[in-house]
């Protein structure tokens, strides 16, 4: 269900863009999906397949996924570490004075159109 909400936003943005650029159809759509965005690829693909049938420009669009690694920063060590492996705890100092740098976002990288 969570994925559906994001799919709806993606489809809305791509359809708008397709219309603005006077394209015939969108051939490919490439998304950058953060490792800690909470998006499950399989669910997302299912929701996308459902949604694209109801569009004007995206009926045959191929969906590509690029996974963006989750990286956190420790303010005490001034260093980064992989988020999915260590969570909020810095592997160097064991402290929790950390924040997420990349990996939460879902973004549209590009679309290929004819």
């Amino acid at each position: 269900m969570h994925e559906l909400g994001i799919v709806v936003h993606v489809v809305k943005q791509v359809e708008k863009l397709a219309k603005e650029n006077n394209v015939k159809e969108v051939v490919e759509l490439t998304l950058e999906v953060g490792e800690v965005s909470g998006v499950v690829k399989e669910y997302f693909v299912d929701a996308f397949e459902w949604a694209k049938k109801r569009t004007e420009y995206m009926k045959n669009t191929k969906l590509n996924f690029i996974i963006i690694q989750g990286i956190s920063y420790c303010e005490d060590c001034k260093d980064t570490f992989p988020t999915t492996q260590y969570g909020k705890t810095c592997p160097k100092c064991g402290g929790g004075n950390t924040y997420l740098v990349t990996g939460r976002d879902v973004s549209i990288k590009d679309i290929k159109v004819v």
């Binding site: 969570h2 394209v23 909470g38 909020k88 929790g96 939460r104 879902v106 590009d110």
Partner: protein, 223 residues
């Protein structure tokens, strides 16, 4: 064969909504209406807590309620009946959250011209409501004792976004393995500025403090 063009975007999926949300916040600031986005799991006691809260503040501020659910209007009816304040039901038609566009539609429908504070009861869910900015002035979440003290670990985003975390159903704490200190510590680690108030919406414990919190927030906002 037609030529395939590539259009580069590098645009966050959330960007359109974030922009709409910022516009809505500016609009609400002009209108001097404080909007509270209230989030929780299903069954954490949002409607009961709201009823108890509204009855404590309705003589001091003018309150409106927007209930968002996938379907049904039981919450809006319950709020209207038990508090007497203006309330409407928003249906998300299957969506798991409200976005800024839906919030604006709701605010237009309820008519905010005679209100000081509007509570937006988001869909019961700890994941999606935190990701889509509603345009509200403040995010608040309710965690309830039976859900467990590990929820801030499992759903960090909603706790990071919330200025106020209400821990409801403290009257049931003796029946559950809920470590309050551990829970507060985990929330603070994710969001050191969060205000945390344990309450029992059912018997009223802690509710005066919650009422005071919102009265002060509305005052600050209007200044």
């Amino acid at each position: 064969m037609e030529e395939v063009r590539t259009i580069l975007l590098h645009r966050s999926v959330y960007q359109d909504n974030d922009e709409e949300a910022d516009l809505l916040r500016t609009y609400l600031k002009e209108k001097k209406v404080f909007v509270v986005n209230l989030m929780s799991s299903p069954g954490a006691g949002k409607t009961t807590m709201l009823t108890s809260l509204i009855n404590r503040i309705k003589n001091e501020v003018r309150v409106g309620v927007m209930e968002a659910d996938i379907d049904s209007d039981v919450d809006a009816i319950s709020i209207a009946k038990n508090t007497g304040v203006k309330s409407i039901q928003l249906h998300t038609n299957g969506m798991c959250h409200l976005d800024a566009g839906m919030t604006k539609c709701g605010l237009d429908a309820i008519d905010i011209s005679d209100l000081d504070i509007v509570f937006l009861e988001n869909v019961g869910n700890l994941v999606c409501p935190a990701e889509f900015d509603t345009g509200a002035s403040i995010d608040v979440m309710i965690l309830s004792i039976p859900e467990g003290d590990d929820k801030p670990l499992k759903y960090p985003l909603v706790f990071e976004k919330s200025s106020l975390v209400i821990i409801n159903k403290i009257d049931t704490i003796k029946y559950f393995n809920f470590n309050m200190n551990k829970c507060v510590e985990t929330i603070k680690r994710r969001n050191k500025n969060a205000t945390i108030i344990p309450v029992s919406a059912k018997n009223g414990d802690g509710m005066d403090e919650v009422a005071k919190y919102f009265i002060n927030k509305v005052k600050e906002f209007k200044e």
